[in-house]
């Protein structure tokens, strides 16, 4: 009995908390940015919020932004660690921003460490900075003190309004390694005039590299719908007539209620062609010229919208092919269903050449409570 007690006491007191990580003794890194540095290195920028508790419950929040040159991300982390009090911990990382220049080379080299170490937060949003990531991170905004909150808020907003896919480090992992499938990441740009960080379209990737081609903001909703992704709301604003003098009367805004996407891949010998049929059930949320109670108006609207949106879809497809970014994973499907054909083809070279015919069919199902 005595011996057991002694052993238990020894176990508790001598081993005591050896793998403890006190939450109060760490510096949380909420945002990280990577940029291309000199001599093949990178510049790592981190934002570290510090809170100090006042006596009367008031808190003082300060965000510290540090930049350092290093050869690899982990080395950069060590360098940062040397210049901050307490220790660096990325366990609650919210956003990783990668500079345009670095992304064009290869993004996997900076992400490797995140996949390898278990304490990293794989839920962190991933975004591409137009220009340099350090500019995005060191940006001082007025409303939100925490840059991580601000950026992740911007990105989450983009997801909710069907502008971005909401990729995080974990989600792009498979697509990074898979040859027949690519991905896109949201772009963040600093608006110097208006003092804002804003979402600015989607950056198309080919394998591990940023292709340099973007889906602009006005096409990004269509781009998402064509992937079969819809956020909480999906607004499409289109010009449907030229009759009215007042320009605003020529536009309609619809909210997509339901969407059905079907991609038919057909292979003849070694030519691959894709038909993408997208049918959207929409609700008219803004249409000043009205007369929606008449079936004829609605039919016209359906037709007009289908036509313009098909054009948009074609633009999206041409951008994708230009970037050689196989977002719809056509390559993978070809590989799965026509392995012989796929073996013959060099997919990276084939994809820009294949024929992709998108067609969008719009049906107005609701027109709001006005009549």
């Amino acid at each position: 009995m005595k011996k057991i007690l002694l052993i238990i006491i020894c176990l508790l007191l001598l081993t005591g908390c050896w793998d403890e990580r006190q939450f109060k003794n760490i510096k949380l890194v909420m945002t990280m940015g990577f940029d291309q540095g000199e001599d093949g290195g990178i510049i790592e920028t981190v934002s570290i919020p510090t809170v100090n508790r006042g006596t009367e419950g008031q808190t003082e929040e300060r965000v510290q932004v540090l930049s350092t040159w290093a050869r690899t991300p982990l080395e950069g982390r060590d360098f940062v660690d040397q210049s901050i009090a307490e220790s660096f911990d990325p366990a609650k990382l919210r956003v990783v921003v990668i500079g345009e220049e670095l992304a064009k080379e290869n993004i996997y080299s900076v992400l490797d460490e995140f996949y390898r170490n278990p304490t990293n937060n794989l839920n962190a949003h991933l975004a591409i900075a137009k220009g340099r990531a350090s500019d995005v991170l060191s940006y001082q905004n007025i409303s939100d003190t925490m840059i991580s909150e601000y950026i992740s808020g911007v990105l989450e907003g983009a997801v909710a309004s069907t502008h971005a896919t909401g990729e995080n480090i974990q989600l792009i992992c498979a697509e990074l390694f898979e040859p027949g499938e690519d991905f896109s990441l949201p772009i963040l740009a600093v608006d110097e005039e208006k003092q804002l960080i804003k979402y600015d379209g989607m950056a198309l990737f080919h394998e591990e590299q940023y292709s340099g081609v973007d889906i602009p903001m006005k096409l990004s909703t269509m781009f998402m719908l064509m992937q079969g992704i819809k956020g909480r709301v999906a607004h499409l604003t289109k010009k449907v007539s030229d009759e009215h003098e007042d320009e605003r009367y020529n536009y309609v805004t619809v909210n997509v209620r339901g969407h059905k996407r079907k991609a038919d891949i057909s292979v003849h010998k070694d030519t691959v062609s894709v038909d993408l049929n997208l049918s959207l059930k929409v609700r008219v949320v803004e249409y000043p010229s009205d007369h929606l109670q008449e079936k004829r108006t609605i039919d016209e609207l359906d037709e007009k919208l289908s036509e313009t949106l098909t054009k948009d879809a074609q633009k999206v497809v041409s951008l994708m092919q230009e970037a050689n970014s196989d977002i719809w994973a056509i390559g993978r499907q070809v590989k799965a269903y026509y392995p012989e054909v796929y073996k013959e083809l060099d997919w990276a070279e084939t994809f820009p050449e294949i024929e992709i015919k998108p067609s969008v069919k719009v049906e107005v199902i609701q027109h709001g409570i006005i009549h």
Binding site: D19, R21, K24, P49, V51, N52, R53, T55, E61, N121
Partner: protein, 533 residues
């Protein structure tokens, strides 16, 4: 198991010894015809105690002996002297309501029970009159087992009154009470109550055996009895239910359990008890069953909260802060940033403070007790956070834990829960979630190994019996609990026969009605005519 072990490998010599000192064969000392001899014997046996009163009557020819502190002077006058004065009887020895004995030892026993002895020179017989005085408080509701609805009486310190309360609730010839005299020096009266024909006879035998095995100078309270007869003393979990409520005892008796009562204490022990019986309250059965179920679930959730919450918090802030939701990261960080001590020490300090406040509050008189509560809870709590000794999150966590531990209807279980918090806090502080997992595993293993008088402690979960789950996590409507739970070891299974079948009858009647409605209405009208006639 323990029973057989002791039977097979136990100290048989001791068993033998005990038989010779059986209460049935009491020592005898015959009374003498000489009054002085008898008086001398009594005086000697009582070591000339000052409260032994000897009243010499009839010019030294007779004596009335009684314990001054045990008798009621009024009763003596009423029973012994009034008949004489009224001339109903010639002699005290002629008074009919007396008991005669020739054994002085028996006389001593009755004297100690508060009887008066009348002895006469030349007569061997000792006349005993029952003139006991007793002081009873009223049968108020026990303070620690209050209910909102339902009966508001409670047991008192008098065994007779307690049994009376039970007998009034169970008017049944099968309600059996067995007395045992325990405590070699104190000679306490212990009663074993059960319903014959419902309770398993082997259970009664077992309890009887264990009770008779006790040899102690004093049986001070049911707590003593509990520790002598329970299966596992080295367990934090109570294995017998303590209650002061007659309705709770009644319900348990009907379920086929056994109640152990003792003179001088309002607490009744109920055996066998399972873990879930500590979470049942009389209130549950007075509510609608939805509400009853809801309250039951909250109580069982309180078990988890009370045992785990501080441990979980410590594990989170010192090992696994990844699990903190994004929105909470900064508030949590801000609250614990400036704290000097590790969370483990923080938690231990807070939990100990809460226990101190509780303990201080219990012992003090009511008005001061409240002050302690306010000083402890509000002032210390606030000041400790402001001083930066303890984080305000820790205060929240510990306060919630304390509240959760008081939710349990049974006081013993509540203390058990508070005790179990400590090892889990230590484990969480050294090993994080793994520590909690191990701790909980050990608690569960221990619980499943426990037995209360041959009934698995975690029944009906650990030996799973879905039928008996009706009265555990949930409380089904009472008419659905038509069989006694197996964990009471009852012999008679059915407790509720068809009781709500009128509902079905009504429905079938209503279905038949439309066909013969005209006839029925005609009949009804003719009947009403007749009655009006």
């Amino acid at each position: 198991m323990g029973f057989f072990k002791r039977l097979l490998f136990g100290d048989h010599k001791r068993l033998h010894d005990r038989e010779s000192s059986d209460p049935d064969k009491e020592p005898e000392h015959p009374s003498s015809t000489k009054l002085s001899v008898n008086i001398d014997y009594l005086m000697h046996e009582f070591h000339r105690t000052s409260d032994l009163r000897i009243r010499i009557l009839e010019k030294g020819q007779a004596a009335l002996v009684y314990m001054e502190s045990l008798v009621d002077q009024e009763k003596i006058h009423e029973m012994i002297f009034k008949p004489l004065e009224l001339g109903d009887v010639e002699h005290i020895s002629d008074i009919p309501n007396s008991k005669v004995t020739l054994n002085m030892e028996e006389a001593i026993q009755t004297l100690l029970r508060g009887h008066a002895l009348y002895m006469e020179d030349g007569l061997r017989g000792v006349y005993q009159f029952r003139v006991t005085s007793s002081f009873n408080r009223s049968i108020e509701e026990p303070a620690n087992e209050k209910v909102v609805r339902g009966s508001h009486d409670g047991f008192v310190e008098n065994l007779m009154i307690n049994i009376n309360l039970l007998r009034k609730r169970i008017e049944n010839r099968n309600l059996t009470v067995k007395y045992y005299r325990l405590g070699k020096k104190t000679n306490n009266n212990i009663a074993l109550v059960y319903i014959d024909g419902v309770t398993d006879p082997s259970l009664i035998q077992e309890i009887e055996y264990r009770l008779k095995y006790i040899s102690a100078d004093m049986i001070h309270s049911p707590g003593y009895v509990e520790e002598f007869i329970e299966d596992q003393t080295f367990s934090p979990f109570p294995q017998m239910l303590n209650t002061e409520r007659p309705d709770r005892v009644t319900a348990n008796l009907i379920e086929g359990r056994v109640a152990i009562m003792s003179e001088g204490s309002p607490t009744v022990l109920i055996a066998p008890s399972t873990f879930f019986s500590f979470y049942q309250s009389s209130d549950d059965y007075n509510m609608r069953w939805f509400t009853g179920t809801f309250v039951r679930l909250i109580r069982l959730a309180s078990f988890i909260i009370a045992v785990c919450m501080p441990a979980f918090y410590i594990a989170v802030v010192s090992f696994h802060f990844e699990v903190i939701p994004n929105e909470l990261v900064m508030p949590v960080k801000q609250s614990i940033n400036g704290i000097a001590y590790p969370p483990l020490i923080e938690a231990l300090v807070m939990v100990v403070i809460i226990e101190l406040i509780r303990e201080a509050g219990i012992r003090l008189p009511q008005p001061i007790g409240q002050t302690i509560g306010i000083v402890g809870g509000l002032v210390i709590g606030d000041a400790v956070v402001r001083a930066g000794l303890v984080s305000n999150l820790m205060v929240i966590v510990v306060a919630l834990t304390a509240i959760a531990s008081f939710v349990v209807p049974s006081n013993e279980m509540s203390t058990t829960l508070r005790l179990l918090t400590f090892p889990l806090i230590l484990l969480a502080g050294t090993l994080g979630f793994i520590g909690i997992t191990f701790g909980f595993m050990m608690i569960l293993i221990h619980m499943t190994r426990l037995e209360s008088f041959g009934v698995p402690y975690t029944s009906p979960i650990a030996p799973l019996r879905i039928k008996d789950l009706k009265d555990t996590f949930i409380r089904m409507p009472i008419y659905r609990m038509n069989n006694r739970p197996k964990d009471s070891r009852a012999v008679d299974k059915e407790v509720i026969g068809p009781s709500r079948e009128w509902k079905q009858l009504e429905r079938t009647n209503n279905e038949q009605q439309p066909a013969g409605s005209q006839e029925a209405s005609q009949q009804a009208s003719s009947e009403s005519n007749q009655s009006s006639d």
